[in-house]
């Protein structure tokens, strides 16, 4: 099976930022959530995959097309929606639809009409009068109705109100029905990633620190509440990400949970009170604060 994308030892250097040695691929029919703090390299990776930037080292293949050589073939099948893409403020959504339809033969008129209704957009209004949320939805519509095999979305839900966010998430969930389509989306909103992604790719300071299926990734982490005094070496245990003491309570955040850890904590003088799973949000914050080891 040809991967939706595959990058090998990818590097891209800018004066104040570098994406270093990223190898990552995505199987067709899969949704990958790209998480990372501001400046971690999410947008750079999406730009490299969409051919808007060329790598300094490494290879990029998108739907079997090697970039930049087969750029034209890749463009036909890849849809990118990112906030820095410009729509013409003086033109209407209908005008944009006509433009995109002429360029991409895969354009689906019925689906476009469905999305106009679902996103509650006025097709004749000039986009200058659209709110931020409406512009985001318009951009996504122009991308989705092409029915690209690979969707690249840079922060698709950022800045949307809860209703618009739900509309966008539902439209993305629809894409899942077709097992040949794949999605890579970056998001600050870890709840969106937790909900929609099959895989999680975690970038930190230009490096890929985790790439795993979502359920296994979440399964590795635990918040362990203990009573007692934390031994000074606890924070240095390889499976421990963070230790916080408050009075006689010690909270241990564990990045590689195993059942035998309870006994080892007990042997170190800590009584385990409870063990809870962590949300992606908590994992994300813990990993970023502790230097990105996930």
């Amino acid at each position: 099976m040809i991967p939706a994308f595959a990058v090998q030892s990818l590097s891209k250097r800018y004066p104040h930022f570098a994406l270093e040695d990223v190898s990552l691929s995505l199987q067709p029919g899969t949704v990958m959530g790209l998480v990372g703090a501001n400046g971690a390299g999410k947008t750079t990776l999406l730009r490299l995959l969409s051919g808007l930037a060329a790598p300094d080292a490494g290879t990029v293949e998108v739907l079997g097309h090697r970039l930049p050589e087969a750029q034209a073939d890749a463009r036909r099948e890849v849809g990118l929606a990112s906030e820095d893409m410009r729509l013409y403020r003086g033109r209407s959504l209908d005008w944009h639809i006509d433009l995109v339809r002429q360029i991409f033969p895969s354009w689906d008129d019925d689906y476009a009409a469905t999305l106009v209704r679902r996103f509650d957009l006025k097709p004749q209004q000039t986009l200058g009068g659209y709110s931020h949320g409406q512009r985001v939805k318009a951009l996504l519509l122009l991308c989705l109705a092409r029915r690209p095999k690979l969707l690249l979305l840079d922060e698709p839900t950022t800045g949307l109100d809860p209703v618009a966010r739900l509309e966008v998430l539902e439209a993305l969930a629809d894409v899942l029905r077709d097992e040949r389509r794949s999605v890579l989306f970056s998001s600050h909103n870890t709840a969106d990633v937790e909900q929609l992604a099959d895989r999680i790719a975690f970038l930190h300071a230009g490096r890929l620190v985790a790439d795993a299926d979502k359920e296994s990734f979440l399964d590795q982490w635990r918040r362990v509440l203990c009573l007692g005094a934390a031994p000074p070496t606890l924070a240095a245990w390889p499976e421990v990400a963070a230790v916080r003491s408050a009075g006689s309570q010690v909270e241990v955040r564990v990045r590689a949970w195993r059942e035998d850890l309870s006994d080892r904590l007990a042997a170190a003088g800590l009584r385990v009170e409870r063990v809870d799973p962590m949300s992606l949000e908590e994992i994300f914050v813990t990993a970023v604060r502790t230097g990105g080891a996930a």
């Binding site: 998430l169 899942l176 929609l196 099959d198 009170e273």
Partner: protein, 122 residues
């Protein structure tokens, strides 16, 4: 998150919405319909299969198992987990057996009419 899907399906089977032998939506269909990822639904189906509530036939998808009592067992297991948690909390508060029983009775009295009727107050 997969636990929510497990609970939803269990509840629907218990309620009789989904009868024994009935085909379940495909993993992709349910994922798209409920707006969660494919892998989450897959994990939930695996869990339900392990619990014996659903059966998967190669190439034919998943079905509600012919033994509806499995749904009850799954809910029983959930109740046991919740009770374990109650016991842990009570120990933390230093409640003795009698005090805990009293607290449980108070909750039963305060709950709406779905109370177990036996022993209810007049």
């Amino acid at each position: 998150m997969y636990q929510q899907i497990v609970d939803q399906i269990t509840a629907r089977v218990m309620a009789g919405d989904w009868a024994p032998g009935q085909a379940l939506p495909s993993i992709r269909e349910l994922a798209a319909g409920s707006g969660v990822s494919v892998i989450t639904v897959k994990r939930a189906y695996e869990e339900l299969e392990r619990a014996g509530l659903i059966a998967t036939r190669q190439g034919k998808g998943s079905f509600v198992a012919d033994r509806p009592d499995q749904a009850r067992q799954l809910l029983e297991a959930g109740l046991d987990r919740a009770l374990d948690e109650v016991v842990t909390q009570a120990a933390r508060l230093g409640l003795d057996r009698q005090q805990l029983h009293r607290r449980l009775d108070e909750h039963l009295d305060a709950a709406p009419s779905s109370n177990p009727s036996e022993g209810s107050q007049s």
